[in-house]
Structure formats: C-alpha cells, structure tokens
C-alpha cells in the first residue's frame, strides 16, 4: 500500500536503500501486533461461561471443534495441503486417551493429553514424510486411504479398541487431582479454553514467523519456493506434524470430556466436517476457525434435531454457495463489507 507515497528523496541514496526494509519491518510489525478486536472471541468465551451455565457442556465441544479446525487451518489454509484424512489424527488422540484409561488404567488427564498429542504427532510425521511428496489427486487419495487404513486397523483389532461400539470402561481421573468434572462440565470448559488459548498463541506466533511466511509461499507458488532454495518438503512435514499434534490434542480432549470414543471418529464425515467449518469461517486466516466452528456447531445443534435431512441439505448448499460466491468465508465477507462502508463517506 505504501509504494507510491514513499518515493525516495533525490539525494538520500543511503536512506532510500534502507527505507524499503524499514517499511517491510513496519508492515510486519503492524500485522503481528495484537489488535483490540482479537480479544473478542476470548471475551465471548468467558461470557458464555457465565451467561449460559447450562450449555457449558456443548460449549466445551465447540471449543474442541475450534481447536480441531485451527489445526487444519495451519496445513490447509496456510500451507495449502489439501487433505481428506485429517480426522485420523483427531481419532488417534482420542484413542490414545481411551486406551490408556480403559486398557492400562491410567486416567490422569494432562499426561494422557500430552501422550495423545505426541502419538498423533508421530503419526503425522511418519505419514507426512511419505505423503507430502505428492500433490493433487494423489495426495487427496493417499490422505483419505491412510485415514481409512487406521480405522480398519482399529476395526481389525476390535478386541482392543471395542470397534464401532466404542471403548468400554473409560475412567478419567480428576483434573490435577483436584477438580472433578461436574455434571455441567464447567471444569472441562475452563480446561479446554485455557489449552485453546495456549495453542492459539503458538499458532499465531508460527503464522507470523518466517516459517509461517514460507508455508504461505509454498501454498502460493511451490516452484518459486524450490527455486529460492526453501526446504519445501521439510517445512511441509514440520507443519503437518504440528497440525497432527494439535488435532490429536483436540481428539484427546474430546475423549476426556465425553469419556467415550468409537471408531466413528475416523469417518470421512469427520474429515469433511472440519473442512466445512474452516471454509465457512475462512481458511488461511487466524480467526476463521473461531467463526466457522461455532456457527456450524450451533446450526447443527439446532437444525439436526429438527430434521437431519434438511440439515445435511443445508450444509451441502452452504458449501456450494461458499465455493461459488464467498471463497474467502464469512470473515472474507465481513472484510469486504467493512471496506465497502469505509470507502463510502
């Protein structure tokens, strides 16, 4: 934006050499800086806790969905990796918690959460190392088939996993040994919200770091990134591993907050759902997940009860309309609208 008004003064040669650099730094700094509006989702989260005390259990699921969507945003929105199997990592996280509790009788939530995230990260690292050399349809198919492979493996060993009936006999211990999850799930709401804040902070730092810029570069023009010597594969694998860890954490929290996990978490529907949430809010922007996931979840909660068929039709229509007319999601629409009104006066 500041190209025309900063034409270098005729005499100042040394100043003109450093001016673009200063401008770039200023631009980056301005983008990176904390805006007041960014506090809004967090204030809303606190408000929900006090305003709707009887809906906090549902709120917890919304927060988990936000976390899951955020993890997809990192690889799909920023790095441009189109995956149809992201539910695999969510499921691995959930099953780590469930199996630790039901089979090894270890129900301590925080260590189980860390274990879920680490095992999902390991799965992301291994699968990403092999899969991320491919692009396009091949990558779509490989991610899809990998997720089903994990699901089938769970089904094959249903003596351990309990198959589609779910893991029997899960028992989650009180948080920090102190806070039992009460009937209204207040403890878990706070627990998940705090973790979401931590994870969001990490993602925000990553997105604005040179590493995050490199990811965006890969999304926009992978050939050029190769040409300028960026280690594309390594960066993709790193982001994929991180996203897998966050998805695993979301899955672990899901299993802990509901004390249940079935092989259904690996379904293609789950991978598609998280993608819809992201696209609805706006991919490749930090707050897309915070808009898309709650709107999707609230609509689903209200409409799916009325008529599942109408709900599914609505989601399909929403997707078609989004692709055709609102490619940048709801946040993109909001941005365009605010720009339009700013220009008017």
């Amino acid at each position: 934006m500041a190209v025309s008004d900063a034409a270098p003064a005729p005499g100042a040669v040394s100043a003109s050499a450093s001016a673009p650099r200063a401008r770039a730094l200023e631009f980056m700094g301005r983008r990176h800086r904390f805006h007041l509006a960014e506090a809004l989702p967090w204030i809303l989260m606190i408000a929900v806790y006090f305003l709707f005390p009887d809906r906090v259990t549902f709120g917890t699921q919304v927060l988990i969905a936000i976390m899951f969507t955020l993890s997809l945003d990192l690889i799909l929105g920023y790095a441009g990796i189109v995956t149809l199997g992201h539910a695999a990592f969510f499921g691995i996280g959930a099953y780590t918690v469930a199996l630790l509790s039901a089979r090894l009788h270890w129900g301590e939530p925080i260590s189980a959460l860390v274990a879920g995230a680490l095992i999902a990260a390991l799965a992301g690292f291994i699968s990403g190392w092999f899969l991320l050399r491919y692009r396009g349809l091949t990558l779509l198919m490989l991610t899809l088939a990998t997720a089903i492979l994990v699901q089938e493996l769970g089904n094959y060993r249903s003596d351990i996993t309990g198959g589609y009936d779910g893991v029997p006999g899960m028992e989650i211990w009180p948080l920090l040994g102190l806070f039992e999850n009460d009937l209204f799930g207040r403890t878990y709401y706070i627990y998940v919200a705090v973790l979401l804040l931590l994870i969001f902070y990490v993602i925000r730092r990553i997105v604005y770091s040179p590493f995050g810029q490199a990811l965006t570069g890969i999304r926009e023009n992978v050939r050029r990134m190769h040409a300028i010597g960026s280690p594309v594969h390594r960066r993709l694998v790193a982001s994929y591993t991180l996203a897998a860890a966050i998805a695993g954490a979301a899955g672990a929290l899901f299993a802990q907050s509901t004390a249940y996990a079935t092989l259904g978490v690996f379904d293609f529907d789950n991978s598609a759902k998280v993608m819809v949430m992201l696209i609805l809010g706006g991919a490749g922007r930090l707050y897309g997940a915070f808009v898309g996931a709650p709107i999707y979840m609230i609509l689903e909660d209200n409409l799916a009860k009325l008529s599942p068929a109408f709900w599914q039709f609505g989601i399909g229509l929403l997707l078609v309309l989004t692709v055709l007319f609102a490619r940048r999601g709801l946040l993109g629409i909001a941005e365009d609208a605010s720009r339009y009104f700013k220009r008017k006066p």
Binding site: A145, T146, G316
Partner: protein, 290 residues
C-alpha cells in the same frame, strides 16, 4: 481339494461380478478426471440417482428392470449435462480444494434429498424371472444375476474399447487426455468433448447404480459410502485410462471379496494397504501418465 477349487471359483466369479459394477461406475469418473483433472466427489451421487430411478421406474411405473436401466442411463446422463454446464464448468481452472468442496456439497445435497423422498432404509428392486435363480457354468452353479452383470460388463467394455480406440471421437478424447493444450491447438473442442464424456460417464454411473441395487444395497449414503472405492480405482488405475480402470476394478473386486471370504475380521484393511502401497510407488497409478 475340489472344495477349495469350488471356493476359488466362487471368489473369482463373485469378485468379477463385483468388479464389473465397480468398473461401470468408475470408468466415467476416470475419463472425466483424466480429461479435465476435475476432482468429482459427486460421481457416487449420479450412481445413486440411477439406482433410485430404477427403483421408482420398476415399482411405480411398472417398467421392466432392463428397460429401466437403459432409461436411467439416458435420464441421468442428460441431467448431468445441466450440472456440468452450470456448476462444474465454472471451476475447471480452480484448485482441487474448490472442486472437492463443491462436489462434496452436491453429494451432501443429493443424500439429503434422497433421504427425504425415499427414507433412509435400503431399497430393493424386483428382478425379472430370467435373472433370478442359479445357472450352471460347468464347474459349479452360480447366481444368474451375477452372470448377467458380468455379461453386461463385458459388452460395455467391448463397446467402450471400440469407441475409444477405433472411432474418431475416441481418438479425440485420447488426444485430449494426453495433452489438452495440444489437442485444443489442433482444433479439438475440448469443452464440448468434456460435456459429452461427462454425460456418458454419469449415465454409465447411473447404469452401474441400477445394477448395484441387488449387490451393494441402495441407501442414500451410497453416494459417499462407495465413493472411496471409485476414487481408489480411478487413482490406482491411472486417470483417463480404460485399461487401468478395468485392471484396478478387478484387483479391488477380487481382493475385497476374497479378503472378506478368507479373512473376514481383517475387513478392508488389505485393500487400503495395497492402495497406499501402489500409490506410493506409482503416484500416477498403474497405467497413468507421469
């Protein structure tokens, strides 16, 4: 010993019948994907539409099963052109994410609409008497309907092969799959060609959907349930390759039936493991162009 041979014949025969249905549904997807690189996740929805059309035609209109199949082929093929012109054509140059989202959206809408009109329970179709019962093929008796499916598949393969390899329009399609820009440069109207193959492919999918009612079971979730299989066949066989689609269909059909027959508890595990393995070694599929 004869028992194991009989079992083997059963697996091969059932697997082949299964493979033919998979082939008939997938071949259109393979060619349209090869031609335009368009990721069409709504292809299963066209197959499902064909299945439901056959159910309605036979049940409410009293039309025979075989004529219904032909009608489904024509009707779904014609309707698909509408979708292609109004929706798909807008996204040919878009990335695969947009195409995936649009077509998942269409598949969801189709599932919802069919659930609303037909209900979620599986549908059946009454077969004419000459397609029911058993038939003796020498080694053992087999269900007549499966033999019919294999026959239909063989006839369609022969027709497609002839159309693809021996006619002018088939040569144009092959040229466009090989190199779309070059084909356009020598004056082939690739857009027109695509609309044509899209209609043909969707029609074939509808025909396959009609044949699948008795073997796969027809519920509204058909559109997504078997989509993974169609996509696996297309990507393992190689985009736009008739031979690849056939080989991949037979591999998947026989392995899936055999796997379920011999190691029921492992389920589809082997199929997906094999798919991942083949794609890792040959990312463009068995007969695809690198």
């Amino acid at each position: 010993m004869p028992q194991s041979i009989a079992a083997l014949v059963s697996i091969l025969f059932d697997g082949l019948a299964y493979a033919m249905v998979l082939f008939i549904i997938s071949v259109g997807l393979s060619i349209t994907m090869g031609l335009m690189g368009f990721v069409n996740l709504a292809h299963g929805a066209f197959a499902m539409a064909g299945g439901y059309l056959v159910v309605s035609l036979t049940r409410s209109w009293g039309i025979g099963f075989v004529p219904s199949l032909a009608l489904a082929f024509v009707a779904v093929g014609a309707v698909s052109v509408l979708f292609e012109r109004t929706l798909y054509a807008r996204l040919y140059k878009a990335g695969e994410l947009d195409q995936v989202l649009l077509t998942i959206g269409l598949a969801f809408m189709a599932i919802a609409a069919y659930t609303y009109f037909y209900g979620p329970s599986p549908q059946t179709v009454s077969l004419p008497s000459f397609l029911t019962g058993q038939i003796d093929i020498g080694v053992r008796t087999v269900p007549t309907y499966r033999a019919f499916i294999i026959l239909v598949g063989a006839v369609l393969i022969a027709m497609l092969w002839y159309g693809f390899e021996r006619t002018n329009i088939g040569a144009k399609i092959r040229a466009a799959v090989d190199n779309r820009r070059m084909a356009q440069s020598v004056g082939i109207d690739v857009d027109r060609l695509f609309t044509l193959t899209f209609a043909l492919g969707s029609g074939l999918a509808a025909l396959g959907g009609g044949l699948a009612i008795q073997t796969f079971g027809l519920t509204p979730s058909f559109a997504v349930l078997y989509l993974v299989f169609f996509l696996i066949i297309v990507s393992v066989g190689g985009l736009g390759s008739l031979k690849g689609t056939l080989v991949a269909s037979i591999l998947l059909g026989v392995f899936d039936i055999g796997g379920k027959y011999l190691y029921a508890e492992a389920g589809g595990f082997f199929i997906y493991a094999l798919t991942v393995l083949i794609l890792l070694i040959k990312p463009a599929g068995l007969y695809g162009r690198e």
